[in-house]
């Protein structure tokens, strides 16, 4: 049994090597985009079948965002990014739980050793995916902040002159917040990666120890953890977005 922290290479397009996690990420994205687009087309006044599900999911997400922002307009602004993160992370995680993920693959020789390269690997069990999502999230936070407060207003959150009101404390807090913005990338990506990768390791180990029944509770747990991780990632994104668009002065009063 070999569990690699690095996603394995499946095939190459030119000199770009496609890993199994990227492959699955693309498939999840295509499936999600297609189904959402198909089911959202020509919505009927009286919802039927899949439209009910889409409506429930969208309404639920929107009201969830609104419950944090307390502002309908902001909720609508944040909705596309947050909803996409939630749905993409959720379905990525669930795709990693499909039978065969991490277990079906080709045996390849690497550095003199035979290792099995699985076809399926949960996209979030690859740091490239989680770091990519974190970068998108944190970058969006900065963009929303600048759009809401202007460049000067937004920068003044981090760079506080030491001769102004809270003096040196303000300067230090501002710098800490600036460091915090970078720390967000790390915390975002490692939280998601850690949870999903740990889950996959756990499942693989359980499966190799006792193939029947015993892994089932863990599988159910992972289904749940997938939802929680998707919710946490999107929740934190909302919170950071809300913090970014709230001005310094506004927050102080």
């Amino acid at each position: 049994m070999e569990i690699s922290i690095i996603a394995e290479k499946l095939f190459s397009i030119g000199n770009f090597s496609v890993t199994n996690s990227l492959f699955i990420a693309v498939i999840v994205a295509v499936a999600l985009g297609l189904s959402a687009a198909v089911f959202s087309r020509n919505p009927k006044e009286i919802p039927r079948g899949a439209q009910n599900v889409i409506e429930a999911v969208f309404e639920g997400l929107l009201s969830f965002i609104e419950s944090i922002t307390n502002d309908r307009k902001q909720a609508k602004d944040f909705f596309p990014l947050v909803a996409t993160i939630f749905l993409f992370v959720l379905f990525s995680n669930w795709s990693g739980l499909l039978p065969g993920a991490g277990t079906i693959g080709l045996n390849e020789e690497h550095a003199g050793r035979i290792i099995m390269v699985p076809f399926l690997r949960g996209p979030a069990a690859d740091l490239n995916m989680t770091v990519a999502l974190s970068l998108v999230s944190v970058f969006s936070v900065q963009i929303f902040g600048i759009l809401a407060l202007g460049v000067r207003g937004y920068v003044s959150k981090f760079l506080v002159a030491p001769w102004k009101k809270p003096y040196a404390i303000g300067t230090i807090v501002g710098l800490l917040e600036l460091i915090g913005e970078f720390a967000k990338i790390l915390s975002f990506s490692f939280r998601l990666f850690g949870n999903v990768f740990a889950g996959e390791v756990l499942l693989t180990v359980m499966l190799s120890l006792v193939p029947y029944l015993i892994p089932l509770p863990f599988l159910i747990l992972e289904v749940f953890v997938s939802v929680v991780q998707a919710a946490v990632f999107s929740l934190l994104t909302i919170v950071f977005l809300k913090m970014a668009v709230t001005g310094h002065e506004e927050g102080a009063h």
Binding site: G33, A37, I54, F58, A83, N128
Partner: protein, 161 residues
Amino acid sequence: MEILTQIGINGKLLLAQVVNFLILLFIMHRFAYKPMLSFLESRTTRIEEGLKNAEEAKKRLDDAAKSEEKILADARAEARKIATEAKESSEKRGQELLMEFEKKADTLVVEARAQAVEEREKLFREAKGEIADLVIATTEKVLREKLENEGERKSVNRFLS
């Protein structure tokens, strides 16, 4: 940088994942969120409108029922008033007529009595006249007869003498 490659971070793959996510974001936004959310919004406003209209209609119905009741009550009161008034006025009128008739009857009786008295007096007068005539005529006749008898006697006497 060494640690990054050790934990599997690869610039190309990272970029590919970012691009993948951004494309998904764009597609979801363009083809799912936008149409669906605007649709949901419009339906929400329509439902709100419908509820508001229903409430208004109900209120109007209540108002109509209330005003109907009021109109009915007013009409009933009016009718009662009119009936009472009519009864009163008819009673008054009856009283008046009665009084008038009594008065008229009184005058009629008085007139009749006066007439009767006059009639009797007239009769008396006439009867008196007639009796007088009759007395005169009778007296005349008696006297004449007496006179005639006197004359015959005289003539007889003369013959005899």
